[in-house]
């Protein structure tokens, strides 16, 4: 381990520091609570290291500028919250279609609409999955601590580069704004090289053979980038065979690299009677419950926390459902990820939603009470 000094850091700040350490050198954004600290941090840091910070005229432009800079070869980041995330969706879809890497931080706030800007909620789970139109793959991480905000942002940047696929880091207001002690290696670059080989002369931007590195504009490879369905050279096509192949292509890379994408963590009893499945700040409350119930009282309780919520950790849920009688899914919304849990529990376990949507965090007492009901 490189030398790491404990520091007090905010979740939003950790995203910014993580991004910088992962080689991000371009940020475009628009101010919105509760994500603004990411922009402020980037505005302070990027000029110091020769990077570009630009505050755009709106959220749509921010997303577009990030994609433009990625095509120029920079690692890029933008951050926003619910209303701004809605505005970014069209260009997010463009990045997915054109396979342009970029990372979007969405610090969720209570919605719909303007909602309660400073109240925590986990209401953007489905927007993160299906916010842009059309069948599309997406990767979404959900950190439960300041440190996870840091390393999941790094993972997001590296995966995004490797797969040429936008990655969303879905924070909630609790994690974004809280400060806690973290150990972060100072000035340590965590850049995973996606390709250090020379570009082969027969390089194609969307090669049928699979993943190809992005060759930035300005190096004499005259290819076309478009949001239209395109052939392996990037040129528009309406040919049904090529259309289907193009759509398969953007999905298959996530299937192929699933094990690198899906991050989960299990604590508690090996054969739990009651299991909790959750993500984001709610993990903290659930962990407090499991620590007490299992570590102290040896009750058959466990917690599967999801750092990756999309693509959905299907296999992990299938396996858990075979062990547990009951799976409780606490969420700070009216029940979004619970539907997926139910789908992949395949009737092997009873799936119970536990929802809170009053702008307050789900606390350990609530979870404990629900767990007690099923023990």
């Amino acid at each position: 381990m490189p030398e790491a000094k404990p520091v007090l850091m905010q979740g939003n700040e950790a995203c910014a520091v993580g991004a910088i350490n992962a080689g991000v050198r371009f940020y475009a954004g628009y101010p919105i609570t509760p994500s603004t600290e990411v922009a402020e941090q980037m505005a302070a840091m990027l000029p110091e290291i020769g990077g570009v910070f630009i505050q755009m005229e709106d959220e749509i432009a921010s997303m577009a500028a990030v994609i433009g800079a990625s095509i120029g070869g920079m690692r890029t980041l933008t951050a926003t919250s619910g209303p701004g995330f809605s505005l970014k969706q069209e260009n997010l879809g463009y990045a997915i279609m054109a396979e342009i890497p970029c990372v979007v931080i969405n610090v969720q706030r209570m919605g719909p609409s303007t909602g309660v800007p400073t109240a925590p909620a986990q209401g953007d789970v489905m927007q993160a999955r299906w916010g842009t139109h059309g069948d599309h793959p997406i990767i979404v991480f959900s950190p439960a601590s300041v440190y996870e905000s840091y390393y999941l942002t790094i993972a997001a940047v590296n995966l995004s580069q490797k797969l040429r696929q936008p990655v969303i880091v879905l924070l909630d207001e609790v994690i974004g704004h809280m400060r806690e002690k973290v150990l972060i290696p100072e000035g340590k670059l965590m850049v995973e090289k996606t390709s250090d080989k020379q570009v082969p002369h027969d390089w194609k931007p969307y090669d049928d053979k699979g993943l190809t590195p992005l060759v930035p504009f300005g190096f004499g490879h005259y290819y076309h980038v478009t949001g239209l369905f395109h052939d392996q050279y990037g040129f528009p096509t309406g040919d049904p065979m090529q259309v289907e192949r193009a759509l398969d292509r953007i999905h298959e890379k996530l299937v192929k690299y699933r094990d690198e994408i899906i991050l989960t963590n299990y604590i508690g009893h090996k054969e739990p009677r009651v299991a909790i499945v959750t993500y984001g700040c709610t993990v903290r409350s659930a962990r407090a419950v499991v620590k007490k119930a299992y570590w102290q009282n040896r009750l058959p309780v466990g917690l599967l926390s999801l750092q990756t919520i999309w693509p959905f950790p299907e296999k992990e849920i299938e396996a858990l459902a075979k062990q547990a009688d009951v799976i409780i899914v606490p969420e700070m919304n009216m029940g979004q990820l619970v539907g997926e849990v139910e789908r992949f529990a395949r009737g092997e376990a009873k799936v119970v939603p536990l929802n809170r949507y009053d702008g307050e965090m789900i606390n350990p007492d609530q979870i404990s009470e629900e767990v007690g009901r099923w023990l």
Binding site: P6, V7, L8, T33, P34, P117, T118, E173, V174, H177, M178, R179, E180, K181, C281, R284, S285, R287, A288, K291, M361, N363, P364
Partner: protein, 191 residues
């Protein structure tokens, strides 16, 4: 959970409570403890009421919000009225008698000190009342090693004001030490 300390800093926007909570949390990090800091955000943090929480523990801190404060700081009457009924009888309550005048009841351990007035009268700067309050809190609770805390304050202070902020912190200690022999509650008048 016996090690868990939950500190709630309350008052009005502009009294520097958010910064105080961050400095307290940073000092806890420097003192090699686990810590989580949270605060109320939004329009209410730009004037009106202000509230920040710090949890310090030797164990990992899971739930990050203050639920059972062990220390409550009230820097104005409104926050005093609002938060007093929400704490348990064992909670250490520190009030700024510059703005808080009771009422007190025997149920609570309220200690009142002229925090803002002393910052103004003795240091000539009302703005360091927040660091003075931290001095009082730390003197009363022994949360953090005093020298480590002083160094953390220096690091966080705007350039050139490190010593002034440390003086404020030390003055907080003095107020506590001088006041601890007296009946503090008398200094806050019960109407």
């Amino acid at each position: 959970m016996g090690n868990r300390q939950e500190i709630l800093l309350t008052g009005a926007g502009g009294q520097g409570l958010i910064l105080a909570s961050i400095v307290l949390a940073a000092a806890a990090v420097d003192d090699n403890k686990n810590v989580v800091q949270t605060q109320s955000y939004g329009p209410e943090a730009r004037g009106g009421a202000s509230m920040a929480g710090v949890i310090i523990d030797v164990d990992t801190i899971e739930y990050p919000k203050v639920t059972k404060p062990t220390v409550l700081l009230c820097m104005n009457q409104t926050s005093f009225n609002k938060y007093l009924p929400k704490v348990g009888p064992d909670c250490l309550i520190i009030a700024d008698s510059t703005f808080v005048s009771g009422p007190h009841s025997d149920e609570y351990k309220v200690q009142a000190f002229p925090i803002t007035r002393s910052a103004k009268d003795e240091l000539g700067r009302e703005v360091v009342a927040n660091m003075l309050a931290l001095g009082v809190i730390n003197a009363a609770s022994g949360l953090i090693d005093r020298e480590i805390f002083r160094n953390s304050i220096f690091k966080f202070a705007p350039r050139g004001s490190g010593e002034l902020n440390q003086q404020a912190f030390d003055l907080g200690y003095r107020l506590f030490e001088e006041g601890s022999g007296q009946n503090n509650e008398a200094s806050a008048q019960t109407p």
